[in-house]
Symmetry: C2
Subunit: 413 residues, 2 copies
């Protein structure tokens, strides 16, 4: 099946908003084995929108349109879609009832334009909007399908995953189903070495690797008649990858190291504390994004200056003088002192040179020492990260979180 993606909104053409919907839909369709050859962005102008919908229907079997479903005069996607397809608009009762209910509960009269949002092209499959007002719709005509979705990403994504994906799966005789394994702590060449035979020999399921920031995703995709069958085909390949890579695989699916470690920490009942230098609070802040973390993260410190390292963490002056702030000895004293003072089960420290200045031949920019202390004692590790200041900081953050993850699963490092 060939699809085309249209993004509607003058705010996109003015660059006030970056279009993340098109990338999200591209990713979803690609995972389902649906090809996308063109994407288009058009403003809130009926002639140009209709021209674009007509052209897309000429190229593709399936046209997905996001945006332009709001209540204002500028929102014309539903009217233009119906017009191009030669259909009338019809009210979707559940959506209209939801709108009426919202105004009734506030004892307000419904403004005339509000109910406009409950209309869809007649005969459409309707996708209820659980996070907003305007429903989505899928309209089939002449062997082609037009799917219209709201523009706000959190409404659109939920609607796509809950309703549109199953709808599309039902449409196609064959399905592509994937499982994504997320790998941290190994480079692309070493990973390829370990699984070269699988990458080469597997055709269905097919195995591909994708390099992200600090991590690699391995996607296993199977084509088959049903999702269950695809999962049965994927299982043994995933098992073999787990056998070879073990805990280098830190999670599966649409997640991140931050989300994964926050979740593990909250469930573990253990507490952690950080002493950050070059990351400047980024490690703690990356976890605090997740509700419930206060049970695990009671305190954390940014100790840039030597004076703060001594006073807050108990690092000895002699250590700083003999080895410098960026050293195994300082990192270990930071972690050990932090654990003792905070009473946390695990204490992690980082001290490094994020750049662009401050590097020396012995300790170039990108040098980071990480200390870790728990009931088993204190250890330290040295990293040398390439890239600019913010890459060094983000790589340090991800490796610190991975260190916590390894401790939580009882892996030495």
């Amino acid at each position: 099946m060939i699809a085309e993606i249209l993004s509607v909104g003058t705010e996109l053409l003015l660059g006030e908003v970056t279009d993340t919907n098109a990338a999200f839909l591209s990713r979803q369709l690609s995972e389902m084995g649906i090809d996308v050859f063109f994407r288009e962005t058009v403003g809130d102008n009926a002639d140009r929108l209709e021209e674009t919908i007509r052209r897309a229907l000429g190229h593709a079997d399936l046209v997905l349109i996001t945006g332009g479903l709001g209540p204002t005069m500028d929102d014309i996607t539903r009217e233009c879609t119906a017009h191009v397809l030669g259909l009338e608009l019809a009210e979707d009762k559940p959506s209209a009832d939801a709108i009426r209910g919202r105004y009734d509960s506030q004892k307000m009269e419904i403004p005339s334009h509000a109910l406009k949002q409950a209309y869809v092209p007649e005969g459409s499959t309707v996708f209820f909007n659980t996070r907003g007002t305007a429903p989505g719709s899928a309209t089939e005509k002449g062997g082609k399908t037009v799917i219209v979705l709201p523009g706000p990403p959190h409404e659109m994504q939920e609607m796509f995953l809950r309703s549109v994906r199953p709808y599309l799966r039902e449409c196609s005789a064959e399905t592509i189903h994937s499982r994504v394994l997320r790998v941290f702590g190994i480079g692309e060449p070493s990973l390829e070495d370990r699984i070269a035979d699988i990458l080469k020999e597997q055709t269905n399921p097919m195995v591909g690797i994708y390099v992200g920031f600090g991590e690699i995703r391995i996607r296993i995709s199977a084509k088959s008649a049903s999702e269950e069958e695809a999962e049965r085909m994927i299982g043994p390949v995933a098992d073999e990858l787990y056998r070879r890579l073990g805990t280098l695989i830190y999670a599966e699916g649409d997640t991140s190291m931050e989300a994964c470690v926050a979740d593990m920490l909250i469930k573990s009942g253990r507490t952690v504390s950080f002493a950050e230098s070059c990351t400047g609070g980024m490690i703690a802040s990356s976890l605090v994004a997740f509700p419930g973390i206060s049970a695990a993260l009671t305190e954390s410190h940014v100790t840039y200056s030597n004076e703060a390292k001594m006073r807050t963490l108990g690092v000895r002056k002699e250590t700083l003088e003999a080895y410098g702030a960026v050293s195994a000895q300082t990192a270990e004293e930071m972690a050990a002192g932090l654990r003792e003072r905070s009473g946390a089960d695990m204490a992690l420290s980082v001290t490094g040179i994020a750049g662009p200045d401050g590097g020396t031949p012995e300790k170039p920019v990108g040098t980071v020492w990480m200390g870790f202390c728990d009931e088993n004692g204190v250890t330290s590790t040295c990293f040398l990260f390439g890239g600019d200041r913010n890459r060094v900081r983000r790589m340090t953050m991800l490796n610190a979180l991975n260190r916590i993850r390894c401790a939580l699963i009882g892996k030495d490092r």
Copy 2:
């Protein structure tokens, strides 16, 4: 002038990369008064790319294409552009020399495909690539112009700002020049009240307001024959806005509260320290992104637990028991204790309820107390932010930075 923007790359259609180039170019062209009615994304396929270039030339006077200028077989933008325009490709000597120089300096032979990147459609204006290999080009034919730019955003943006923007200004008899004032600490309705007459009456220069995250941008755009003339027209309007809004205007142009406060701090020679609760290190981390900040930010603390507030900051147990952790009294004791212990010139504390849980009728989710202490004593302010956990945290961070800014310019708050 009407422009159309084309983004080239199969990785875009697979959703592996989000297209930020299109938004950047949209913003730049809109600021110059050039209209964009369509944007298109197409993969690394010659037929489809040429079809799209032809269609864009039908719609627009100016076509901007990004991506597909690399050395591989998949990179076909230069060939397709030349083919559509009926032109041959010609070597750009400075670019070819730069490529040869790079291989020579490493004493390596030049691979056959490497020099491909130095070619542009014959007769083009060439834009040298200071951050990469492939030059950009502008080719005029039949009253239309096609501009081709590299895909990596840091190469493309630098090339656009340095070379393409001046080129486009020279092409048009009339120029649009803008100045953007960034406003923090006032809502849109109040701002509109204060400058309603200017918004309504000004036509050239025109004044518009744009709501961003936590801030508002006021854009003053003048049409005139030259940039100098435009600046002379903008000056008095900007002066009047400064007269009415004063220090609510925190900066001008393409910057951010984070960059602005980091810069002010580094230049001020003063030191600051933070005690963060709900922000979890985000305030310190937002500043540590900027090199040189270690001179101003010597230490910072995340004190989630009451125990950490007492031990690290010297908050009294009686205060926490009588008023709770989220209170004026606790915020002030955090700031005062932090200033004393850290020795920093300024100490700022935040303690709040970021949600989704933890709210009460008296202290709902979004309640944040901020304490501030300097040589003039200690003060506190209460905020109530709407939105989810991360919005509350980010709004807290921006308001904390603005508090530091106000202190640095000698404004009470």
